[in-house]
Symmetry: D3
Amino acid sequence: VIHPKIVRNIPRADLEQIRRLGECGVATVHEAMGRVGLLDAGIRPIFPGARVAGSAVTVICGPGDNLMIHAAVSVVRPGDVLVVTTFSPSNAGMFGELLGESSRAHGVAGLVIDAAVRDTAELTAMGFPVWSRAIWAQGTTKAIAGSVNVPIVCAGAGVHPGDVIVGDADGVVVIPRAEAPAAVAAAEERVAKEARTRERLRAGELGLDIYGLREILAKEDVSWED
Amino acid sequence: VIHPKIVRNIPRADLEQIRRLGECGVATVHEAMGRVGLLDAGIRPIFPGARVAGSAVTVICGPGDNLMIHAAVSVVRPGDVLVVTTFSPSNAGMFGELLGESSRAHGVAGLVIDAAVRDTAELTAMGFPVWSRAIWAQGTTKAIAGSVNVPIVCAGAGVHPGDVIVGDADGVVVIPRAEAPAAVAAAEERVAKEARTRERLRAGELGLDIYGLREILAKEDVSWED
Amino acid sequence: VIHPKIVRNIPRADLEQIRRLGECGVATVHEAMGRVGLLDAGIRPIFPGARVAGSAVTVICGPGDNLMIHAAVSVVRPGDVLVVTTFSPSNAGMFGELLGESSRAHGVAGLVIDAAVRDTAELTAMGFPVWSRAIWAQGTTKAIAGSVNVPIVCAGAGVHPGDVIVGDADGVVVIPRAEAPAAVAAAEERVAKEARTRERLRAGELGLDIYGLREILAKEDVSWED
Amino acid sequence: VIHPKIVRNIPRADLEQIRRLGECGVATVHEAMGRVGLLDAGIRPIFPGARVAGSAVTVICGPGDNLMIHAAVSVVRPGDVLVVTTFSPSNAGMFGELLGESSRAHGVAGLVIDAAVRDTAELTAMGFPVWSRAIWAQGTTKAIAGSVNVPIVCAGAGVHPGDVIVGDADGVVVIPRAEAPAAVAAAEERVAKEARTRERLRAGELGLDIYGLREILAKEDVSWED
Amino acid sequence: VIHPKIVRNIPRADLEQIRRLGECGVATVHEAMGRVGLLDAGIRPIFPGARVAGSAVTVICGPGDNLMIHAAVSVVRPGDVLVVTTFSPSNAGMFGELLGESSRAHGVAGLVIDAAVRDTAELTAMGFPVWSRAIWAQGTTKAIAGSVNVPIVCAGAGVHPGDVIVGDADGVVVIPRAEAPAAVAAAEERVAKEARTRERLRAGELGLDIYGLREILAKEDVSWED
Amino acid sequence: VIHPKIVRNIPRADLEQIRRLGECGVATVHEAMGRVGLLDAGIRPIFPGARVAGSAVTVICGPGDNLMIHAAVSVVRPGDVLVVTTFSPSNAGMFGELLGESSRAHGVAGLVIDAAVRDTAELTAMGFPVWSRAIWAQGTTKAIAGSVNVPIVCAGAGVHPGDVIVGDADGVVVIPRAEAPAAVAAAEERVAKEARTRERLRAGELGLDIYGLREILAKEDVSWED
């Protein structure tokens, strides 16, 4: 019923919107969208300070097989982010230095993968940002059919080709392409609001007062004792 | 049978004792107390070099809800360490930059939480030490009743309000307040003893000889072969 | 049927071969050997940049007991790598600063352990490379019989005394001693081949073309769409 | 950007097709569809012999909160299967005997939940089939907004309202509603084909010969030795 | 600072209260107490239908060592439940058929252990109820000092000697001894109330109406769509 | 360096010895051998009461690929046990009803696999004993080279072709072929000894007295209090 395929052309979000979402960061964008779209907490950056924002080129591979990542590199455009999952769970090292060099040569901005990567010292030296479930040298085959640029589920989040991907120290969030403009607006509004809140908190005001939490405590019958 | 409450005033250990326990470090204090009091190994610092020692302000929250952390900030004193757990397991990002700013404004020395934190780049830049089970952007509610400064179990260890908390690269240990003086004495004695042992080991003496282990090997019928 | 023992003398691989395997790195050596010999992905270095290559001195301990590590230090030779496992799983901190000092005094090049280590700030400051399953302060006994320099299974890989151990950011690989010469040859050939491939990928050639993957995609009925 | 909502009416697949998919079973349907659509392996039946097939009524809840499950019961039709996930991971016991009674009263055929359930002795006695990630008594709130009958990701699989859900001893598979007719045809063809293969295997023929695997072994250079 | 000890005599709750708590079951008692006191979800019964209620005799052992369980059997009284944890995590099989026979001979009603058990076929045949984290044959030593009848943390819950332990299919809950009377009253009130709710739900009334949830949905801005 | 191969003929242990080891059971054999040889605790039987004893035919497969299991069925002899692992971890359902029928047709006594199995209702109905890490419907390829009857590591235990495998409710143990006679003798001696101990324990004697543990408690400074 499902036939594997590689889709060459996908719609992408506006570059300026992508840039602005990246500046807002994962936690803010996720909150602004209504607390949805996060990949699970097991997906971690391979080096401190890794950040990325770009359009998703989606990839679904066989477990321990990176054939379709090579196929994906043939259809990327500069600024894209590879988002890779597997049919069944794998922690093989499906992406390493050579794929990193190839990805960079074609302008790939980063990688998000629900599997392992390897050659992480070299990828770190290249400054190529990667979010993965594990770091492991285990090698892979290049033999199993899969698809590129079809809708996937990666680490618990649904991702369509061309969705916006933002990654930083707190994880990875996906913004559906059609919601990118609204997400930018909501996220930047939140940034502005948080700046004001930050000043009040720094001055010693309590979150209890700023957010009106004392009445919630009262309503929930939480007592105060000395 | 249990009613949620916020206790404003708690006894605290002597500041000088707290400082000295912090200098001894987690492994030494844990050993000195008879190998008890450690939080489990899943609780890790969010940046290398994080260290803390302070009095526990305990917090128990609903899963994915940080209402009670805000309440706790209203009762802390400078030097306190927030120790947070949840009714049922959660890996939501219950603490971020804004709570970090608020905590710092009230003198909180650090955070230990059996859940996730977010805005870790900003918390790291602030030098605010945190030990958590995960790092994740997932947002939280501010709606569920819980308690502040009641006895809790956090990551497998029992913690009473005012107990001494020491955290470093090797994890987090809790010292019951009443045992702090004895723990300081035992830990510092251990530090001194280890200094002597270190010199002997550096000079090439074997642990087998220093600790009298050859006779244990003999008693356990471990044979030596060439 | 099994009697615990400590074997003093073991055969070791050629030092120059060990050095060359270390330079090739874990991922390359593992690939060159036919994708075998990796310890599992849970075994991670305690600091970035850790690297080691040496001869395995194998140790099997009781859970939460480091008696046999002390015994092992008495039979090491400079350049050896301690490879430690336990009878039943343990995440106690079986190795810390003092054992690190003792190991260094006897020339031990590093440690691989399917358990936890502690005093990691100190071990990092010493530059003593360690790969472990966890970092935790939990203390240990020195009371349970085990063996040194017998064949063991460590983190899913079979290790014989004198096998070559290579560790880096991507994990740890074991090379059977008798296969070291062939592994050096195969790994260095792979390094040379990868250097050529790297240049082609950097120039923008696709893995699809370099590795002949287009015909695999065709054979597997993967379709291309626009 | 996301607003919580409860959708009352959803399209459903043909009942006879649902019944036939249920008879084919999870493994066969999953294979027939091209090896897609499985929920992850952590989702297990609470009693042996549990089987279900029905239309998905999707539910997304706050962690440890079952408000939206109660909402969902108000929109189900006989034969539906509740498919429940949470915003952030939870292993609270979000469904128990009372919700089981209520669900049964409204004709719900079963429950699939990426969280825990409780009162499992009573649910088992009722013969109410449940697939969950855990069994645990932990209680829940009824306070957090979520949605019913919107697209969700549950245990790694995308589920739309009205998709067909099949569950048995091997797990749970989701069949997109539009693909149900093709899936029935492909699955029943597979059942027939497997019946013929089964007879040949029972008679002692080898899979190597039936599936033409000897030539794959040869092509992959697998040697035969005595 | 901590010295291992065996306490012979402990206070126990009233037998009739223990019996009534056991009849209410784990989920009900846990709810009645304010949703506290559960051991974590990884603690599971070794056979379906296992149920127990009794007074806790607490045991803390070395990892993979059951010396202190033998000590505990010497101080139990008929109807007690052994509650066992370890200093550092262990999944060794610390309790088997022989300890089961010995426990039964002294009237022990059951076992709760944050480790593994073995001889589970025999223990099941004996009808000796056990809740454990794992089932595994791994053997243990009888050599490491620990304590009996001191306060412990077992699987995330604080347990004092003489607390009431209730276990069933949904897990294990601990009721502080002093709270047993109030817990009985609250739990039985809850049972009665649930019986009335059950009838209404069976008759088709909705939880939305019975629990007044429609107004919570409205307050949280959850919209209804057709 | 490693070339995949299928070895047709392997030495096997004496059938009577295998039978007697099976009767002693996993825990007893493991103890009798000196507490070695267990597969890890994650390997569980798919139905209660599963028991097996036989000669290991070892199989190493690609992740999510069962080509080599088909190859293995072509070299088994009646009474053999298939012991299957993968190059890199996989929880795909690599073995199901059809392979079960084929295995049975060739006399295979059971399966031990560090991966998942499916069609577990049918395998249970057949009474075909299986120990696996998971139960999951996920399908597999038949395309990746591996080996049959070479030494492997399966679930943490080294297994050579022809070693004796014993499985029951407590897990799986491997007995090196050459040690089978000694293991039989030691295990049966242990069974006899345990029978005598069982009688004493049933009569109320304490393990403290039977095993001489009171002096260990004294030596370890464990105090007795009232």
